[in-house]
């Protein structure tokens, strides 16, 4: 028995769990010696995880034929934006002392900050046009075009994470590998459109999300 409304509610609740636990741990001094660094790391990882999950939906849907998955893509994307914004806010308040000038200088001088900022800024139009209203207003095709920005955002986020560590890049490389395969998959599909044996019925995935969403 499929009930997208309930399933989305479950996703919403679960996506908020790390945020609530982060606040809870902060309040109870459970974030270690450097709580700011802990929170920065946690929110950054969460943003990256949600971004990766967002990009996994379409390939997974095509491989399994399980179109139901597309109900969750928008919320996953919004969670990525939510945690990325938190990540930036913590950086801006604690590490740049709320100084716009200091943050700008940081962006200009350090490539990994520049990549992170790019990833976040590219997410803004995606989040802003995530409503059904925007899809109707913009039309499916232009909307799809705008939302291709997610690939650039993911690329920038991957580079941000890869360039941050001083020496230990094992985890960033794993994430990078996943992101590269997810992006490479899209290029492959573009090149060989008949890649899938099980072709999901609505051929254009993105408008189908919006239409099925719009019913509720």
């Amino acid at each position: 028995m499929k009930d997208p409304r309930f399933d989305k509610f479950i996703l919403l609740s679960n996506g908020l769990v790390p945020f609530i636990l982060l606040l809870w741990d902060a309040r109870h001094h459970r974030l270690g010696t450097n709580p700011v660094e802990f929170a920065l790391h946690a929110t950054g990882m969460l943003a990256l995880i949600f971004l990766t999950l967002t990009l996994t939906i379409t390939p997974l849907r095509k491989f399994t034929g399980w179109n139901y998955l597309s109900h969750f893509r928008r919320m996953l994307g919004l969670f990525a934006f939510f945690y990325a914004s938190l990540h930036f806010t913590i950086y801006f308040i604690f590490q740049q002392n709320k100084s716009v000038a200091a943050a700008m200088l940081d962006v200009l001088n350090r490539s990994f900050i520049l990549f992170g900022m790019t990833a976040l800024i590219l997410m803004v139009p995606l989040a802003a046009t995530s409503t059904n209203w925007s899809i109707r207003k913009l039309g499916a095709e232009p909307w799809k075009k705008i939302h291709k920005l997610v690939y650039w955002s993911a690329g920038a986020a991957g580079l941000h994470y890869l360039k941050f560590p001083k020496a230990d890049t094992r985890l960033p490389l794993i994430f990078g590998g996943i992101l590269v395969s997810l992006l490479g998959y899209r290029l492959l599909v573009k090149r060989f459109p008949n890649l899938h044996c099980r072709r999901p019925q609505p051929v254009t995935p993105i408008p189908s999300v919006s239409l099925s969403d719009a019913k509720h």
Partner: protein
């Protein structure tokens, strides 16, 4: 035989829609509770390392420092970081690159038996048993600022003695100009040495005059107790006016040389880390400015970084006439 016709289902046996709906609600509540609990468990598991406590023996005969040592830089009255903070936030890449995780990973690491070879351009080279080395001089309390190249700082009450006391013992030749320090190489006990994160073993170096400076110590304890493993047991280098990475941990070799020795971070990333690594607010690290620092456990990076980490009065003379931007 009498066959009873099945009676019509009594109205009372039909599930009340309310019950049916409440059962559905019950199942849904169950799904909500179980899934969020699982998510919470996974999040906590991945983001936190296991809690660990530090059990180390008390050091005997520690010479207490006090305000009298202030002029020499041996003592500061700034608030000291707690043992918990000092032992649960450690850059010890041989165990982990996650500073919060090292305390848990050092469990079971034994520092006995242990030897430190003091060799090179010296008249009396010697392989010291660690317990012999610790007896070279009674441990003195040194309350130093510790500034990490990453931008955070602490105030740590070390126990130890000036490196010069050890070097005097082995009598360096006049050709001696540098000292190289080497950390233990043992992938079986230092798990990250299986990975080429950095060129192992970890090595560091000092110029002879830096090594002989009274502020430069071999630390053997913290807070009057033996040095915990995560802080570099059984013996480590501390050079308080330099970034923390100069303080090589868990030393097995101290070698006097005539040429400038390699130091690990500057081999790994020469544009980011130099040989001198003096704390300097005017020379930014390529990844961040060094103008400000975060004094833990404070949250804000709002404290101006001090030239030579505040030890300029004692050490600035070592670098007279030197371009500290070129020799970062």
């Amino acid at each position: 035989m009498l066959i009873k016709k099945p009676s019509e289902i009594a109205g009372s046996e039909i599930t009340d829609p309310k019950v049916y709906l409440s059962r559905r609600r019950f199942i849904r509540l169950g799904i909500l509770a179980a899934s969020t609990a699982a998510t919470g468990w996974v999040y906590e598991k991945l983001s936190h390392s296991a809690a660990s406590t530090v059990t180390v023996a008390t050091l005997d005969g520690v010479v207490r420092s006090s305000a009298s040592g202030r002029a020499s830089g041996f003592w500061t009255d700034e608030p000291q970081n707690s043992l918990q903070e000092i032992t649960h936030y450690n850059n010890f890449y041989e165990f982990s690159s996650d500073k919060n995780e090292v305390a848990d990973l050092v469990q079971g690491f034994s520092t006995r038996p242990w030897t430190v070879s003091v060799e090179g351009l010296v008249r009396r080279p010697k392989v010291f048993d660690i317990d012999e080395l610790l007896k070279i001089s009674p441990p003195e309390e040194r309350v130093y600022r510790m500034r990490c190249v990453e931008g955070w700082s602490m105030v740590i009450p070390w126990d130890g003695f000036s490196l010069s006391k050890l070097l005097d013992r082995v009598e360096p030749y006049s050709a001696a100009r540098f000292v190289q320090f080497q950390t233990l190489m043992d992938p079986g006990r230092l798990p990250n040495q299986h990975w080429h994160l950095l060129p192992w073993p970890y090595v560091e170096g000092l110029r002879m005059d830096e090594a002989m400076h009274p502020l430069t110590i071999l630390a053997t304890g913290i807070y009057g107790r033996e040095l915990p493993v995560q802080d570099g047991a059984p013996v480590r280098l501390i050079v308080p006016w330099k970034y923390g990475f100069k303080g090589a941990k868990s030393l097995v070799s101290i070698k006097v040389t005539s040429v400038q020795p390699a130091n690990t971070w500057s081999v790994a990333a020469p544009e980011e880390y130099g040989f001198y690594a003096n704390v300097n607010p005017n020379v930014p690290h390529p990844r961040w400015s060094q103008a400000m620092e975060q004094r833990l456990p404070g949250l804000f990076k709002d404290r101006p970084t001090l030239m030579f980490n505040g030890y300029g009065e004692q050490v600035a003379g070592l670098y007279a006439g030197m371009d500290l931007k070129a020799n970062f």
